[in-house]
């Protein structure tokens, strides 16, 4: 029976090509717009470390003075050097790392290359195992090298390709800011999305090219990038006394094995704040937060509001397209009252007529889905041409592709329901009489 309905549907669709094209195009446009924006949203709200994000936490403490104090307000989103170091040395988590962003002038040994700036991350030893960075060659550094302010560096695969032609460069010398560093590791392609560990440095930017021990960067007074917020008398626009300044400028991450451990850690943070207040360093009452990775992305509203707005817009657009299709299908099915009357008179039940019309709606949906996928590819290609830093990530993956088809067919079946139901209410006798 399905084959027969399909044949009837194709005949009917062929009879009025313009109208069929209009319905297919409307569904295709709606689906295409939705899938383009949903794919961007899906990519942007993804989990950068799916296996581990629930165990990674970002603590916040409130080190500010009483100037502008409001009870319960969210504390600073970064930590001072003193607090960062205290939390790092306390080693209350399974792993922990303190970090900040920066930029280093790289001096290639090849005479053909001018010196250039590379984005850098100054961090501590646990960064690599905690974030499970893949290593192509070598390894990260250890705590001893952190303490010894060692001149060692881990570089990205792309920088290794550029400077060392992709060969194993461990133990090679890399000159940066007139200082010789020993390469101890080369990362394989690594681009966590979003750039969760430091959202100040572009929320969807690529991972840095150079990783150096934090203590080394302070020792050499390397330029740092990112957000810094200072207050009180210790504030200033001075890069060199940051260790003692009342400024927050570092990110601190901790790995905790379980919810119990997280609760313990929160207690520890609370006690730490109280202790610091007793010592006179903190002025405000204890106000601590501990968010896991996904919560932290939420707190920072990482997904750009423009992207969310675009998704809503596309959904509204799809709705208009569907209403349009319902209207056209209704007109079309009712126009065929005569034909349907004949079928009913020849013994087709209401159910069968209904099924026949739904098959027709489904065919339109399928065609619209195919068109929608093509339009989504086009839309995503256009998105990738945009200069935004997330643009290059916008690709349609298999689950999204399947969702597209399901959405298209469901949408057109839904929009076929009302017209088909109306059409099968026709009284056959009346139709035959008027013929």
């Amino acid at each position: 029976m399905f084959g027969y309905y399909l044949d009837l549907a194709l005949r009917s669709l062929r009879r009025n090509k313009m109208l069929t094209a209009l319905m297919v195009l409307a569904i295709a446009l709606g689906i295409g717009a939705c899938m383009t924006t949903f794919t961007v949203l899906h990519v942007l709200s993804g989990d950068p470390l799916p296996d581990k994000s629930a165990r990674l936490f970002y603590p916040q403490v409130d080190p500010l003075d009483m100037d502008g104090y409001e009870a319960g307000k969210e504390p600073e989103r970064q930590v001072t050097w003193i607090d960062g170091m205290n939390l790092l040395k306390a080693k209350r988590g399974e792993r922990q790392a303190l970090m900040t962003g920066g930029a280093v002038p790289v001096q290639p040994t090849q005479s053909s290359m001018d010196p250039f700036f590379s984005d850098a991350r100054y961090t501590t030893a646990d960064f690599f195992p905690m974030f499970e960075t893949p290593f192509l060659y070598g390894h990260g550094w250890s705590e001893a090298e952190d303490d010894g302010k060692a001149r060692v560096a881990v570089i990205s695969r792309s920088l290794n390709d550029k400077l060392f032609d992709g060969k194993d460069s461990t133990n090679q010398i890399l000159r940066m800011k007139d200082t010789a560093f020993r390469v101890i590791g080369v990362l394989d392609n690594w681009r966590p999305n979003p750039h969760f560990y430091d959202l100040n440095m572009g929320q969807y930017s690529v991972a840095e090219d150079v990783f150096l021990p934090l203590a080394t960067s302070r020792d050499l007074n390397l330029a740092r990038n990112g957000s810094r917020n200072c207050w009180g008398k210790g504030g200033g626009n001075d890069d060199e006394h940051l260790e003692v300044a009342t400024c927050v400028w570092l990110q601190f991450w901790v790995q905790l094995q379980s919810a119990d451990k997280a609760a313990d850690y929160r207690t520890f943070l609370d006690n730490y704040s109280k202790e610091q207040k007793a010592l006179g360093r903190f002025e405000r009452p204890s106000n601590v937060r501990l968010s896991n990775l996904m919560e932290w992305l939420d707190v920072n509203k990482v997904v750009p509001s423009d992207v969310r707005l675009q998704s809503w817009l596309a959904l509204g657009f799809l709705m208009v397209c569907l209403v349009n299709t319902v209207g056209l299908m209704l007109a079309k099915f009712l126009r065929r009252s005569g034909e349907l009357g004949v079928r009913r008179a020849l013994g087709a039940s209401r159910r069968e007529v209904f099924m026949q019309l739904l098959v027709e709606a489904g065919v339109i949906g399928l065609a619209g889905g195919v068109g929608g996928v093509l339009l989504a590819y086009l839309g995503l290609w256009l998105v990738r041409l945009q200069p935004a830093d997330y643009a290059s990530l916008a690709h349609l993956d298999l689950p999204m592709l399947l969702i597209t088809f399901v959405l298209a067919i469901t949408a057109s079946l839904l929009s076929g329901l009302l017209p088909a139901w109306r059409a099968c209410q026709i009284t056959p006798a009346l139709q035959l009489k008027s013929q």
Binding site: A26, M66, W231, D238, L309, V320, V323, L330
Partner: protein, 417 residues
């Protein structure tokens, strides 16, 4: 023409009428809000920076062989390196003036602090962004002084990155002057930086200078800029350069070459474009807004197109369905124009109904956007324009099928389908 026969005819097509009305309503609600968003973005992009943007460019660079600031006397060395650069740039034929600076409007890299009128007060009086530069900064950016005097070379403090002395004098924007001293007598008055007790005297007021920041927070003090007479001497330096009129491209070519000649051991922030024209800085600052405006515009156009096509399709069907009736009307003496008017009036009725619903939906959507996306209230004019637009669109769309209806010959009445 009487409306009642049209209404009674429409009653026989309830579902179709409701659907087309709903489509018009949704289209109106979405298009109004989308155009309002476009309008807001354009307004944001049209905010004046206060500087003369033509012929201006920026160079951001650092020295690779800069002496470490730990070493005694490094500050003098760094100052000399910067002075050498400035001299080389000022000697270029296509360059009008050059100034070291720490930022630019729309660059989105800013140093923000609170200033106070009384050093003891707990809350700041105004939040401000700082620009640091020498006596050439005002003419290079093309700022207009409206009161007081500009900096002279005697005012300029030379500071390394490590010493933080406050200058005794500053120049502020009119926005700050009006905020702190509403009587218009800001020049000669004293302000304090957050957490300090050292008085700083306002010596001049410039008409307008936008802060470098671009986000929502900095937009709350968009024109609160303070220019400090400080020449920062560190391992990096940014230069604002004004080219001679019409010589921007030539100057942008010559400047990096001249700097390389002074000292090749340097890195530019972006090696591909060592000199960034202000037009490029502006384009990058607003690229997301431009993208959003284009997308919204495209969606509006397609939406209107789909709705128009829907009206054409549905009306065509009704025309086909009513051939017989049209023929009867024609045979009973209705003119072609009457048939045309009939369908036009019918569409006007449906579209007006849809527009009424759409008007309400548009405001509901706007309220929702205000709540979730920090948008502002949409002025009525947007909705009214939208209503007129959908009515006109409906009339345009209905014209083709309505004309076809008017062409139905009276003889159809005598045929039995």
């Amino acid at each position: 023409m009487s409306v009642s026969p049209i209404l009674s005819a429409l009653r026989r097509h309830k579902a179709g009428v409701v659907l087309i009305g709903l489509q018009i309503a949704l289209t109106l609600a979405i298009v109004c809000n989308a155009i309002f968003i476009i309008g807001e973005r354009i307004e944001r992009m049209n905010r004046p920076t206060g500087i003369v943007e033509r012929d201006l460019f920026l160079i951001q660079q650092a020295w690779v062989n800069a002496p470490s600031e730990e070493i005694e006397g490094s500050s003098q060395k760094l100052g000399a390196m910067q002075q050498e650069d400035l001299l080389a740039l000022r000697q270029l034929a296509d360059v009008e003036s050059v100034a070291p600076t720490t930022s630019m409007p729309l660059l989105d890299s800013s140093w923000n602090e609170g200033i106070r009128l009384d050093p003891e007060q707990q809350q700041q009086t105004a939040r401000v962004s700082f620009y640091l530069g020498d006596e050439q900064l005002l003419p290079t950016l093309g700022l207009r002084l409206v009161a007081g005097r500009t900096f002279t070379s005697a005012d300029i403090l030379h500071q390394g990155l490590r010493d933080i002395r406050q200058p005794p004098v500053v120049i502020v924007t009119k926005a700050i002057a009006d905020l702190l001293f509403p009587h218009g007598d800001a020049v000669g008055k004293v302000v304090y930086l957050a957490g300090t007790h050292k008085p700083i005297t306002i010596i001049g007021v410039v008409e307008r200078l936008q802060v470098p920041g671009l986000n929502r927070w900095t937009a709350s003090f968009a024109y609160n800029s303070v220019v400090l007479p400080i020449q920062r001497e560190g391992f990096f330096a940014f230069y604002a350069v004004r080219a001679k009129p019409g010589r921007l491209q030539a100057a942008m070519q010559a400047a990096p070459a001249a700097l390389y000649k002074v000292n090749p051991l340097r890195v530019f922030a972006d090696i591909k474009t060592p000199a960034q024209s202000f037009a490029a800085i502006r384009a990058r600052a607003y690229r997301d807004d431009i993208g959003m405006a284009i997308l919204m515009g495209a969606v509006c156009l397609i939406l209107l197109g789909v709705t128009a096509a829907g009206i054409v399709g549905l009306t065509s069907f009704w025309v086909g369905q009513r051939q017989h009736q049209i023929g009867i009307r024609r045979a009973l003496g209705a003119r072609r124009i009457d048939i045309l008017r009939y369908f036009q009036t019918e569409n006007l009725l449906i579209a007006s109904g849809g527009a009424m619903v759409g008007l309400v939906l548009a405001f509901i959507l706007n309220l929702w956007l205000i709540r979730h996306y920090e948008m502002s209230r949409m002025p009525l004019i947007y909705v009214l324009t939208g209503v007129v637009a959908v009515l006109v669109l409906g009339q345009l769309a209905v014209f083709v099928p309505a004309r076809r209806a008017s062409m139905v010959p009276p003889v159809v009445a005598t045929r039995s389908v």
